[in-house]
């Protein structure tokens, strides 16, 4: 039925090019030999990019989005077998030698990579690296190239560009390095910039900066951008068109509004439905997509999403659907904008009945535990932290150590967690979240302040006392791969804690089965090893382990940030169900505020070791009073293109100051947009006096002298 759609033929047969396209990919297929067989990472990708257009490619890990982009740049390893067609300005790139390709790279097409830490050569200055990019393609002298490098650094917003161009990459922060990457990418005024997860490794406020710089870069060069990401929010505000990839193929393409408001492929529906929304007060049920993406070795026939799809029919398991136009009125055929297409046998049904994520996927929304129905004040505190301080000495010298400074990692924070409630600790990297939970988990006497777990102060606890408390306090870490011993079968992992606390063998086995059932795994999983599980399943094992001793308080350290989007919702739902069922309290550490809004009852926002705003999650998100909270919330991209287009961001300047040398008075003042507008006499107070958390209403406090509520969502 799609023989009239040459643009989608995975065979890569020759078809006339699309007029006006700056980059055109047709039937791109990439496979790699591997020990277990041929991995077909990309299975027929086609798209055309018109000048100045932004195409967003979304997909989870292993969907083939990065491999496609590397194929376009000719940067795949020589073992890759590539077929199809890649045309840049009408010129076929496939089959070009390294010499011809290298003339094009950096000149016509350039690329911004994900991890700016490793993507710059550590041994050359950033100025030299940008100048090199200029000199490869332009016949200019060294000084001229250096001048150009400084200009480019200015363009991407690096202050003191001339001086900073002589710095090495390790002297730059992550955001600064990514600016350098962008400067390098636009050095020769390219026509296409491919940005592969350009903001994934960055904090949200820095992400907002970088997206702005990318916008500036696009204006300066007029280049078309291919934006590859797993973050639907980033795409919503940035892209004109979107291509959703799954198992090496595009499964849905269309304008950004089509994809976000009228998704017609169940995978896209699930993906969008699994996103917790930052901008919705009433908690939305999340739609987890069960199962895992298929292995790309010996893919069975049929739709690769079928095993995970609640709408699958028998035809779905036999015949892989083509990427068809969703509305019959849409003309198929190789146009620059081939309209809205979806690869699903039932997309017409979805279209006609206007199905949404919750119609297709079993949505769940857990309630509150029974204990949480009592008013908060009358519940006992499971964790009480008051004025907690943790400083680390900065030392120098190997033989004779001397202290040269102090890192104020956590500097006097106060919060409590009541029975059956979830408090989220949020903030960017380096704000002291992790130090805080480490201090709590060590159960030792804090340097200053006090910590009480279940009413017992940690100061003065002996070994036995700590051991008793440890039963009631457990933890789930971010990386489920690293936190499970690969040499222990799951049953042993789960039973370890039970053994330590002297639970007899027979009871242990029963408890292990019970735990596995609790987290949605089967008893047959007990004898397997961690390596046999997917990321989401591993995190379930970690959660089961944390629950083994029936704790009252569970510390969750970024429990879902290492997981793919569609897996994430399932784990979030599980955590919520467990809390309801077992009356747990959570201390939830996260940097993803959307997840926090979904899961937490209360939230504490940290900045440079201090809590700047704390309170009921809806109050803090709806009516943030601290300028930092406002900036943080405003920096988060919403998976809602219309809202994104209308939104005006509060973009913070610069990077986090060093916690070894925090600014005097209010720590946020160096980046504070409010401080910048204050009259000098008012501003002086921010410089001299450190603000304490002051009440902004019931269960809402902010540490700002001039706190003023501002809605940013």
């Amino acid at each position: 039925m799609t023989l009239d759609l040459p643009a989608e033929t995975p065979t890569g047969r020759v078809v006339p090019g699309t007029p006006g396209a700056v980059l055109e990919v047709r039937g791109l297929t990439v496979s790699f030999p591997s020990e277990s067989g041929t991995v077909t990472a990309v299975r027929g990708v086609s798209f055309a990019l018109s000048p100045g257009e932004v195409l967003g490619i979304v997909g989870e890990s292993g969907s083939g989005k990065s491999v496609s982009s590397l194929a376009v740049m000719g940067l795949l390893p020589s073992t890759a077998r590539i077929s199809g067609s890649i045309r840049f300005q009408g010129k076929e790139l496939l089959g070009l030698g390294d010499r011809e390709f290298s003339e094009l790279r950096g000149e016509g097409m350039s690329m911004v990579f994900q991890d700016p830490l490793s993507a710059l050569t550590p041994v050359y200055t950033v100025g030299d690296q940008i100048a090199e990019a200029v000199r490869i393609h332009r016949d200019v002298g060294k000084d001229e190239a250096k001048r150009k490098a400084v200009e480019l650094l200015e363009l991407v917003g690096i202050p003191n560009a001339k001086e900073r161009s002589r710095a090495f990459p390790h002297e730059f922060s992550g955001g600064m390095r990514q600016r350098v990457m962008i400067a390098m990418a636009i050095a020769n005024d390219p026509d296409v910039i491919i940005a592969d997860e350009p903001t994934t490794a960055l904090d949200v406020t820095v992400q907002a900066q970088i997206l702005e710089v990318l916008g500036t870069a696009q204006e300066a060069t007029g280049a078309a951008i291919v934006m590859i990401t797993h973050d639907l929010g980033v795409i919503a505000g940035f892209a004109d068109r979107v291509m959703v990839m799954y198992a090496g193929r595009p499964v849905e393409t269309g304008t950004v509004d089509d994809i976000f408001y009228r998704p017609r492929m169940p995978y896209t529906l699930g993906l969008l439905g699994s996103l917790p929304r930052l901008d919705r007060a009433e908690r939305q049920p999340l739609t987890p997509v069960d199962g895992n993406p298929p292995s790309l070795v010996d893919l069975p026939p049929g739709c690769p999403f079928a095993p995970r799809c609640p709408m699958r029919l028998s035809v779905c398991l036999e015949l892989e659907p083509d990427l068809d136009p969703v509305r019959s009125g849409d003309t198929p055929g190789p146009g620059l904008h081939p309209g809205h297409r979806a690869a699903c046998h039932r997309h017409r049904e979805i279209e006609e009945q206007g199905l949404t994520a919750t119609d297709v996927f079993p949505a769940q929304l857990a309630g509150e535990p029974p204990v949480a129905r009592r008013p908060r004040e009358s519940r006992t505190a499971v964790l009480d932290v008051e004025g907690l301080v943790r400083r680390f000495p900065l030392t120098r010298g190997a033989v004779f150590r001397r202290t040269v400074g102090t890192v104020h990692a956590v500097d006097g924070i106060t919060f409590d967690i009541r029975e059956g409630e979830t408090l989220a600790l949020v903030g960017e990297s380096g704000c002291g979240k992790t130090t805080t939970i480490n201090e709590i988990l060590t159960l030792a006497r804090p340097q200053e302040g006090r910590v009480a777990v279940l009413g017992r102060e940690t100061t003065g606890l002996d070994r036995g006392g700590r051991r008793e408390i440890r039963r009631d306090l457990s933890v789930v870490f971010q990386d489920p791969m690293a936190s499970l011993d690969p040499r222990l079968p799951v049953a042993d992992i789960l039973a370890e804690g039970l053994k330590t606390y002297g639970v007899p063998r027979e009871k242990r086995a029963a408890r292990v089965r019970e735990l596995l059932r609790l987290v949605g795994l089967g008893p047959e999983h007990a004898s397997r090893y961690p390596a046999e599980f997917s990321g989401g399943q591993r995190q379930r094992i970690c959660i089961a382990r944390a629950l083994a001793l029936e704790p009252k308080l569970v510390v969750l350290d970024e429990p879902v940030s290492a997981l793919d989007v569609s897996i994430r919702a399932g784990v979030i739902n599980l955590l919520e169900q467990l809390r309801e069922k077992l009356s747990l309290s959570y201390l939830f550490v996260a940097h993803d505020l959307s997840v926090v809004r979904h899961i937490a009852n209360r939230v504490a926002v940290m900045y440079l070791g201090r809590i700047v705003e704390i309170g009921d999650v809806n109050k803090v998100f709806e009516t943030p009073a601290h300028p930092y909270t406002q900036a943080l919330l405003s920096a988060i991209p919403l998976p809602d293109p219309r809202k994104e287009r209308e939104r005006r961001r509060v973009v913070l300047e610069g990077d986090l100051p060093s916690p070894a040398d925090p600014p005097s008075g209010c720590r946020f003042r160096t980046r504070c947009p409010l401080f910048a507008t204050l009259a000098p006499d008012k501003a002086q107070r921010c410089i001299d006096e450190e603000p304490a958390v002051a009440s902004q209403g019931p269960d809402h406090g902010a540490a700002c002298h001039y706190a003023e509520v501002k809605t940013v969502l």
Partner: protein
Amino acid sequence: MLKFLLRRFANYLVLVALATTMGYFLAATSLNARANYEGRNPRPSQTSIDAKLNELNLNNHTPVVKRFTRWAGDFVRGDMGKTFDERPVWGEMKQRMGVSLRLLLLGSLFGAALGVAMGVIGAVKQYSFTDHFTTAWAFVLLSTPVFLLAVLLKFGAVKYWNAHVPDSVHLYYVGEKNPGLTGTSFVLLRDRIAHLILPTLGIVLGQVAFYSRYQRNSFLDVMGSDFLRTAQAKGLRRRTALIKHGLRTALIPMATFFAYSFGLLLTGATFTEKIFGWHGMGEWFIDSIAKNDINVVAAVIVFSAVLILIAGLIADLLYAALDPRVRIR
């Protein structure tokens, strides 16, 4: 940076002093110089033995601390004592250091350079025939003891090269030069080179095998790195990117390795020196232990400790030169 190096130098000096002291105590307590005299025939009188031993500061009846203070005092004044046959240690040491250096300098340099080159080639063409070939040979050489390799080289030179390639340079396998030879400096140089080829080959082969394995691994690490991909994305050709951006980064972990292994080689080439009859430091060390010659053993220990000091400083300098991340402002 200079301050840092000076501080490192001071640290190393302390280490040298410690190593030397401990080495002296070990040698002075475990080697028995008296036995050399007592074993003579006719056996000298007890008093004359004691007198001789006292003169050379080798008397094991004197407390070892006392002997050490005398030795250290002399050492500070620039006197390293006398050998068993009553020649100044320093005089012979100078000579032997020269021999060792002439023997090992070329071998080490070639070994390192070729090793790096082979490692890079092996990494770039991973799993190719070249890679398998060099890997196989590297392991053959690594598992061949030096003395076997040296003997094989000798054998090859005598049986094949000298016998069947008569018009070329005649390869010698004993000593540094032909003692009686006279002529222009060109003739003398040619003679020295003809003597140098075999032992140098012996050293180079071992070193190449060793370095190439390390360099291959370190280069493989770099080859998968993102910055090489960035360099190519800028428009550099693969080869240029590998050399310009990859090689220097891959050499960083090797710098320390180079510096220390050269330092250790100077005393560690005992087999090579012995087999090819070069009277260098390694040979001296082994011989003096056999002869219970405590002063010489102590001198060689000082020598190796100082070499480690120099190697350490060179390693620091190389590291800082290659890697801006460790430079101190």
